[in-house]
């Protein structure tokens, strides 16, 4: 992202917030989002295809079932690579591969009807069959008897031997219990009091028993294996080892088979990641009431009722309404002039946000939009982070300006708030005017807000003005006395003006509303008249 927008720009146009609201479900989708690169000039057709997919997902009734599949899709990337490196997968890993394949089968059915050329799942029925040899159709996994005759034989012999051993053990136990009138507990131990002298000595001599513990009151006896038992247990141990070996061989074969389908599975992983990311964008488009923008090749940004989503959200939390703004930017340099608190900076940020969202293949928050692609987006606003680094307002601005001008030979979007507003008005005006005449000859689009008169007094510069305050007739500004009420009287629309050499002076009106002492206001009005 860094060569498209700096970190500061990302924050200042609130793109960090916007992008964090795009939430893929699977790890593949999250990775896809992390690796996302913006569409740039020349990629208009690719972007239109991307938008087409998002629109299709929004309109499709398959979206819900696809999301369901995504929720059940786990990351098998590491497991798959282990198979590729000839490692033998364990039962849990085979289970995960099986589940992945079952989920991709479901996804295949949903995606098929949408028919995108590059979002096609490769079915691997052979592999599913291999992981379900008993044809159970379940999504569980076990090293099934069906894998080999040998396994089946070993297991049935093992079972038989276990049965015989258990029976023999039970016989001996019952015989001893009956003979000596004792009881064995769950651990197979019988505790006999030392006071029963005869019994303990008889028990000690019995071939079927051994002493497993002793304390000062009693002796604990346990059943000892006889020869037959020893043989049975030895046989059982052999069988278990054979079974392990056979299972290993089976897992090895399956792992090799999986390796053979590595490329196909990787392609499915790619399709899942892309689908997930697209659906995340579709979900957010719907949630934020965004629309598909029309992408054009000539330099322009046209937006009807555009919104800054982050600002809208924070206003909503305060129960206040966001007033959408139209944009119609067509020239190389656009000046936005107008009243303080007229939303100039907000409009600037919104312009950047909408351009960035479109570049990242997202729908944009407005009623309709028509815009071109940029190679870079750049914004400089007063509350820039670099001020925190110790630069003065003007210092920070100049550093930003230099960076912006370095980019001005490419198709970039430069957004500057109050250029040279923090220095003395004479020099500030000179710098602004010079920057405007330099940038108007470049191939980039520059939008700047300014208070200086005459900056936009140039045919090559588009001049937009905030409509400004519209006060009801006879309103007494001193009586409103609440700056939060200002938005009620402010008309935030941007109106195109031509060759207008002075800009509206709403500052004194706003000062009145804010409750500045009357004598100061009157003095200021007097000075204005004298000028």
């Amino acid at each position: 992202m860094a060569d498209f927008m700096t970190e500061n720009t990302v924050k200042n146009i609130n793109f960090d917030y916007i992008f964090s609201e795009v939430k893929p479900i699977t790890e593949y989708g999250i990775k896809k989002k992390q690796e996302a690169v913006p569409f740039r000039k020349g990629q208009e057709e690719d972007l239109r295809k991307e938008f087409n997919k998002i629109r299709t997902f929004i309109e499709s009734d398959k979206r819900r079932s696809i999301i369901d599949v995504l929720r059940h899709t786990k990351n098998i990337y590491e497991t798959l690579n282990r198979a590729k490196n000839n490692q033998v997968l364990d039962e849990v890993e085979l289970f995960e591969i099986k589940n992945f394949l079952i989920q991709t089968e479901k996804l295949y059915k949903s995606l098929r009807t949408l028919s995108f050329d590059d979002l096609k799942i490769s079915l691997i029925p052979q592999l599913i069959r291999l992981l379900d040899p008993a044809d159970e159709g379940l999504n569980t996994f076990y090293i099934y008897d069906e894998y080999s005759e040998e396994l089946k034989t070993i297991r049935s012999e093992k079972k038989q031997t276990e049965k015989t051993a258990a029976l023999l053990k039970k016989e001996i136990k019952e015989e001893v219990e009956k003979k000596y009138d004792i009881r064995f507990n769950l651990k197979g131990e019988a505790t006999v009091s030392k006071s029963e002298n005869e019994k303990t000595s008889a028990l000690s001599k019995d071939d079927n028993l051994r002493i497993s513990g002793e304390n000062y009151l009693s002796i604990i006896f346990k059943i000892k294996n006889n020869n037959q038992m020893d043989l049975l247990e030895k046989h059982l141990e052999d069988l278990k080892n054979q079974e392990e070996e056979e299972e290993f061989r089976i897992r090895q074969n399956i792992s090799q088979e999986i390796k053979g389908y590595y490329d196909l599975i990787m392609n499915n992983i790619r399709v899942i990641g892309e689908t997930d990311y697209l659906i995340a964008k579709a979900n957010y488009a719907q949630k934020s009431h965004s629309v598909e923008p029309e992408i054009v090749s000539e330099l322009s940004i046209e937006v009807k009722s555009g919104k800054n989503l982050k600002l809208e959200k924070s206003l909503k939390e305060k129960h206040r309404e966001y007033i959408p703004v139209d944009l119609n930017l067509r020239k190389n340099v656009i000046c936005i002039t107008g009243a303080n608190m007229g939303g100039k900076t907000v409009s600037l940020r919104m312009t950047g946000q909408i351009a960035a969202m479109a570049s990242y293949g997202m729908f944009v928050p407005c009623e309709s939009a028509r815009l071109c692609l940029f190679d870079h987006i750049f914004i400089s606003v007063g509350d820039d982070q670099s001020i925190e680094k110790g630069l003065s307002t003007f210092g920070a601005e100049i550093v930003n300006l230099k960076e912006a001008i370095d980019y001005s030979d490419t198709r970039c979007l430069i957004l500057i708030d109050e250029l040279a507003g923090g220095t003395n008005p004479k020099e500030g005006y000179a710098i602004t005017k010079a920057v405007v005449s330099y940038l108007k000859k470049k191939g980039c689009m520059t939008v700047l807000t300014t208070h200086y008169d005459n900056v936009a007094n140039d045919e090559a510069v588009q001049n937009l003005q905030v409509a400004g305050m519209t006060l009801p007739d006879g309103a007494d500004l001193f009586k409103i006395n609440d700056i939060d009420q200002l938005s009620r009287y402010m008309d935030y629309r941007l109106i195109e003006v031509k060759y207008k050499d002075d800009i509206p002076k709403d500052a004194i009106k706003i000062a009145k509303i804010a409750g500045i002492r009357e004598e100061i206001i009157l003095e200021a009005e007097k000075i204005m008249e004298e000028q």
Binding site: D90, E91, L94, T140, I143, R155, E162, N185, N215
Partner: protein, 340 residues
Amino acid sequence: MRIIETILQNNYHTVSIVGLAKNAGKTVALNYLIEEAESAGVNIGITSTGRDGENKDLVTETHKPSIYVAEGMYVATAKEMLMLSRAKVEILETTGIYTPLGEVIIVRVRQSGNMQIAGPVSGSDMKYVAGRLRHYGAEVVFIDGAIDRKAVSSPAITDACLIATGAVLSRDMKKVLEKTAHSVECLTLKETDEKLKKIIKGQNKTCVIQNTGKVVVPDIVTSITGGKKINELIDENTDSVFIKGAVTTSLLKEIGESKFLRGIKIIIEDGTKIFTDVNVWNELRKKGLRVETLNAVNVIAVTLNPVAPAGYFFDSQVFAEEMEKYLPGVKIVDVVSEVH
């Protein structure tokens, strides 16, 4: 009546087995239960609570119950434990819950064998896993609670519990009897009446409730340190004090200093939240302290292990008889000597 029958009759679906100390015979008790369930033809699920905040070495060194799992049982255990087992299993689900010993996997046993069981650590994960074991077909899920993890028997997680105690607690049988009785008493305290429950649930914070129904919430961060502040709010009009979270010795002592102690009752979330010294508790009870609970734990039985690994042991018969005197009405089972 056998323990499994009690479980089925009461419709308990999740049962925790809690040991009052290491070597109190918890694993023997669990095996005992499994055998009962087996012979009664009940499908069961098994898991155990892991231990929180420990690195892998420590977790590996701690004893995990090695349980003989038979064909058809459902088990939730960490992947590493599964790989070590010689029982053959069908993998049903990878839960996405991770422990230092790997992801918790839910399986169905296809061929019997021994298996070490290490389940999820947190209460909410445990609840989820127990639910999944039930979903796959276990009629009753047994949860082996690690040592000092009484929390698993909280009614928020399990329906009922089995308490394993034994000679290991003390060489002095009387002390074993007292400690066990205290634990059971805490878990089975009287439940508060519905009216108070409603008030408390509306607050869900440590608070002092007046006779009039008025509720005062003391300005404290945790109940552990707030004993004095709670004490200041108690007067002749106080009906009860609800303590959210842990009830410690110092907290109880500080509240116990109130001269209005006889008139009030303390209400706790459930018995697993009590971490007080037996003597302090008993002394305050004598002074008239009344304690009630929002949720009583169903104690199905207390199992005894009369043998301590240190080599000493109690007479099984005497131990069981004495325990019955301390815990009248509670089922006592000596799972080691099988004295009922």
